[in-house]
């Protein structure tokens, strides 16, 4: 009851982000009409800034007042001087608010801090969204959460921004979970987010990167698909959009980009896993990123993460032509893959999409590359088929950790080779 009261009364204030540190809520028992009148006098003293939650009415009915910190002494002295009884219902309003915020997050994530969050297990969408909020709350100077759109089914699409300041600095984009069944990728994204906050100020490479550049991390790039993999079909890959004229659901968000759209390397059949969609950017999950990247205008590296196969790929996927920056991209890929394997010996192959994996048109990094984002890469994480999409949770942290070394190598190269 008290909680409901607090929220209903303070909702506006909370949204306005007021600070209630030291504020107290006093419950006054006025025993007769004279005492009620005395408390009414308090109401008239505007400089006290009292907030009556339950105003003076009749004797015997409690009077509840939120008293700002500077006024607490004065009010208490007044009440005591007139023999009016009172109790302190809430010692510190802000502390209570903080505790309740925490509990709200805890309810959603099961964890109260990113230090107690379990990175070695797979989480639901709610848990991951809850994690994001806690991380932002713990590192408000470094991390913020942006909403870049809403999914087909109306779920918010969030991107974490890691920034130490500046104004639209050159930035690195990382996305995980564009294919919802590739669970090790969203799980790795969560781990990366935490890792960035730990490494800033500790790891010289990451610190140098964040001192000049921003990092954008979209952990659940396909939230509808992700929810579907939890609730209905673990093997769901695509979005959950409805296609007019077909009973089949979803388009492949990695065939929906405006790069070679419509060419061989994607399917025109809505019932297939590589259905490209009715037209380029038909999927809101894709369009949201396109709009964000175009509006930002200063993304310098774009990394899209998938599983499985253990590959590091660069453009092109839709054509066999060699990318103009092929030689440099190949070098970067090689050093990234070397860094990755230095941890556990995990072997990755690397090369262009079309030569290394298969022809894929309308794919993410062909588009980002066409936007002038030179350092465009796609990862395919563990494993090579033994478990595939159902990678045991025990491999999440090793996978995320080794992949992080590769990401760091790519980011460092981007930092040292401005263009």
């Amino acid at each position: 009851m008290r909680r409901v009261l607090i929220f209903s009364v303070l909702l506006g204030a909370v949204l306005g982000k007021e600070d209630f540190t030291g504020h107290q809520v006093l419950r006054i028992s006025a025993t007769d009409e004279a005492q009620v009148q005395k408390v009414k006098e308090l109401e008239d003293l505007e400089h006290l800034q009292l907030d009556f939650w339950r105003g003076p009415a009749q004797p015997g009915f409690p009077i509840d007042i939120r008293v700002p910190f500077p006024s607490t002494q004065a009010v208490k002295i007044f009440l005591e001087a007139h023999g009016i009884g009172y109790t302190t219902m809430i010692e510190d309003v802000q502390a209570l608010l903080d505790e309740e915020q925490e509990q709200m997050f805890a309810f959603r994530t099961g964890a109260r801090s990113t230090d107690t969050f379990n990175y070695a297990t797979y989480h639901t969408l709610e848990e991951i969204y809850g994690f994001m909020d806690i991380l932002v709350a713990e590192h408000p100077q470094l991390v913020s959460k942006l909403q870049i759109g809403n999914s087909y089914e109306g779920r918010p699409i969030y991107v974490l921004k890691f920034s130490t300041g500046g104004n639209s600095r050159p930035a690195i984009w990382i996305d995980t979970g564009i294919h919802s069944r590739e669970w090790v990728t969203q799980a790795s994204g969560v781990w990366f987010a935490k890792r960035i906050t730990q490494d800033y100020g500790q790891d010289s490479t990451l610190t140098a990167i964040l001192d000049s550049m921003d990092i954008f991390l979209e952990i659940v790039t396909n939230p509808d698909g992700f929810a579907f993999t939890h609730n209905k079909n673990r093997m769901w890959r695509k979005t959950r959009s409805l296609t007019e004229g077909s009973s089949c659901v979803g388009a492949d968000p990695n065939r929906n980009w405006d790069a070679g759209f419509g060419m061989p390397g994607a399917s025109s059949n809505p019932c297939t896993e590589t259905y490209r969609g009715k037209f380029a950017n038909s999927e809101v999950e894709v369009k949201s990123i396109v709009d964000f990247v175009k509006n930002h205008g200063n993304i310098k590296a774009f990394i899209s993460i998938h599983s499985y196969s253990q590959l590091l790929l660069y453009p092109y996927g839709y054509k066999a032509e060699v990318a103009p920056d092929q030689a440099e991209l190949d070098q970067v890929a090689k050093s990234a893959v070397t860094a990755l394997s230095s941890l556990y010996g995990t072997k990755f192959q690397y090369g262009s999409i079309i030569k290394t994996i298969y022809q894929a048109s309308g794919n993410t990094i062909d588009w980002s590359y066409s936007q002038g984002i030179k350092y465009s890469f796609t990862f395919e994480l563990r494993d090579t088929g033994r478990y595939g999409f159902l990678l045991p949770a025990s491999q999440i942290v090793p996978t995320a950790h080794e992949t992080w070394l590769a990401l760091r190598a790519i980011m460092q190269h981007t930092l040292n080779h401005p263009y």
Partner: protein, 291 residues
């Protein structure tokens, strides 16, 4: 069997880089217009197609996979299953009918490799792909990876374990969504992989290759004349199209005896119903292999 989706120009992944890939004999063949490049391999008509080296590497990988599935099936031993480690060398020839013959040497790893275990077997194989038709012809020989006695022991252990499992099995997915397989259910997974090897062998072509993604249900479980009678539905993941294909598989197994497999895979969700029903036993119409 109708081709499914877009056939890719080459399928690369599946294992570590080959230590040595002898392409010299391939170059000569390449000049004779070797590679069976499917439609769309090079994008538009104007742009060049894939280099023959990439196509060759893809073909060798495909052949290795087909050979290994077939080998695992013929060996009939759920405790001695192998996975591809690396292709060492190979060459391919394509005839005017776009059928490919691939000769290759590759290394294998134990499927259930224990930590620290570093055992590589070596296989040589001849695989004949019949231009996107199923059932590549396979002739494969592999060096021994596990001692025969040890293998028989482990098979028998697995067998007794399975006979002790209570029926009906109240199990749904193996592994679960989090990739976990309960140790008590591991033998089911291994035996299912053995049966699925038959299916995956038959369905592998120059362009399509499969992985066993999940057992989505175990339907029936009884032991007649002491054999293990196992009826289950498996989800196969086809890599180039990314499709998940449910296959109902029925196998009968007794350690040391040839595996008997019947299966029915659900074809792509198109408005028209299409199904493929195949039946097979270890006495498949291919050459015998020695191991």
């Amino acid at each position: 069997m109708p081709p499914r989706g877009q056939p890719p120009p080459a399928s690369g992944p599946g294992g570590p880089r080959p230590a040595v890939l002898l392409l010299a004999p391939l170059l000569l063949l390449a000049l004779q217009g070797v590679a069976a490049a499917p439609a769309g391999a090079g994008g538009t008509e104007d742009s060049p197609g894939l280099q023959d080296a990439e196509l060759q590497r893809g073909l060798l990988q495909q052949a290795a996979r087909a050979a290994l599935h077939f080998f695992n099936f013929r060996a009939g031993s759920p405790s001695a299953l192998r996975v591809l480690a690396a292709v060492l060398e190979g060459r391919a020839t394509v005839n005017p009918k776009k059928e490919c013959q691939v000769d290759l040497v590759f290394t294998t790893d134990h499927y259930n490799r224990e930590d620290g275990e570093e055992r590589l077997g070596k296989c040589s194989a001849r695989v004949f792909f019949r231009n996107q038709k199923p059932r590549p012809a396979v002739n494969v020989t592999c060096t021994r990876l596990i001692e025969k006695n040890k293998r028989q022991q482990e098979d028998y252990l697995l067998y007794t374990h399975m006979k002790q499992l209570k029926t009906p099995l109240d199990v749904v997915s193996i592994p679960d969504s989090h990739g976990h397989i309960d140790p008590s259910l591991r033998p089911i997974w291994d035996l299912a992989f053995l049966g699925s090897s038959y299916v995956m062998w038959e369905k592998t072509t120059q362009f399509l290759h499969y992985y066993m993604a999940q057992i989505s249900s175990v339907n029936q479980w009884k032991t007649n004349d002491d054999a293990v009678d196992f009826d289950y539905t498996v989800l196969l993941h086809e890599f180039s199209t990314q499709e998940i294909i449910p296959c109902r598989i029925h196998l009968v197994w007794y350690p040391g005896k040839p595996l008997k497999v019947k299966y029915h895979c659900q074809e792509l969700q198109t408005p028209e119903e299409a199904s493929g029903t195949e039946e097979g036993s270890a006495v498949a119409p291919t050459e015998l292999n020695n191991f």
